[in-house]
Symmetry: C3
Subunit: 161 residues, 3 copies
């Protein structure tokens, strides 16, 4: 079906590419992907989070942590990192993403770059702890009809100097 | 009028659904709705904010606050909550939203889930106070041609354990 | 080429304007513009940042700083403001944008309003410093096929009372 936008107004140059083209549609779709993936991350649903990577996906965290290859390794690494930092302490961690840039790569995949800021909330305390922030570089592919991450590289801002 | 995207490039699988379809258009539209609604909230324009709910809209804040039903009640509740917290102190409060997920519900309405983080700024002091953060679950409907909230449920993160 | 959205589902009122129309496409495009511009700002690539303004673009910061007119002046002002605040101290500053509202102005340009929150990270310290936050009002135009800023007015929240 063709998208019929039967708006009773005149189109202007602002309604044609590069302002309003396919890249804009794709951009909104990629935003949705990250919203869902971030919710899984923040709820520590590590298996479902790992399933947003391709089977052979790679997660490259900041050193000294080692890259995790494949979904099982990614799920394990995520749980282990959380336990290392918070032990059994009850916390609710959130990632706030911004400055998402999406570009088509030569091989047809998508390069996505964005920033992320972590907040950590503890029971009954309304003021979140802040940090770290990081730059994230992803390679996204269409995998069986779904957007998935083939590679993620995370560079924490405080280790980026 | 049909959207003509006369870009001089080849379309790829990334330009077809599910990557670039109607859901992506709708997603961008819902983002716009929240940007406008949040600006009204942050400027404490309580009547206009309440008008972004349906006539019988419901706002369910965190206990012990009680649900507010209908626009008049929502406007009143908003003003009262602000006064309870800040009295007559001059503050500028902002809500930063992220991780917006939108899904069509069986009855044709939209379920929208997102996170929000509050900052509070006081005159002459450049460092905002932070918190609380919360998870918000909305039901959106097309009401007389406009997107409006039929129901909003707010779960502050520090009360969610 | 026409965007063919061959999704195997029924369209509803939620898939037609005003929910899913040209304005939504344009909105996603404007978000992309800001993501790219913000990355240049945060990386202190002042010449490239200035090139996202029109030749005669104006940047109006908070007083007592004076408006900067033209790309060379904007690049200089940006570098000078950074040096005034941080000297030669190594910092990584980020701007987090939210509540973007876009509206067509009578002359065919776009008015864009949004909020911004600054974080500052220092080497080895994972907790960012926060602030200030500000309201930004831009006028965007299509300039030689690219979105560019013709005018930017910044109102820091702590100076807005």
């Amino acid at each position: 079906m063709t998208i019929h936008a039967t708006e009773a107004r005149t189109t202007t140059a602002l309604d044609t590419p590069p302002v309003a083209g396919l890249a804009a549609l794709r951009y909104a779709r990629v935003q949705q992907f990250y919203a869902h993936q971030t919710a899984l991350l923040d709820e520590l649903r590590v298996q479902e989070f790992a399933a947003t990577f391709t089977e052979d996906g790679v997660l490259v965290p900041a050193p000294p942590a080692r890259p995790a290859r494949g979904r099982a390794a990614i799920a394990t690494a995520l749980g282990a990192a959380h336990e290392r930092r918070f032990g059994t302490e009850p916390v609710r961690r959130r990632h706030w993403q911004d400055a998402l840039r999406v570009a088509e790569l030569p091989d047809g995949s998508l390069g996505a770059n964005y920033c992320t800021l972590v907040t950590v909330v503890r029971p009954w305390h309304p003021v979140p702890s802040l940090g770290p922030s990081a730059a994230v570089a992803d390679v996204l592919v269409l995998d069986d009809g779904e957007l998935r991450v083939r590679e993620r590289r995370i560079t924490p801002d405080h280790l980026s100097f």
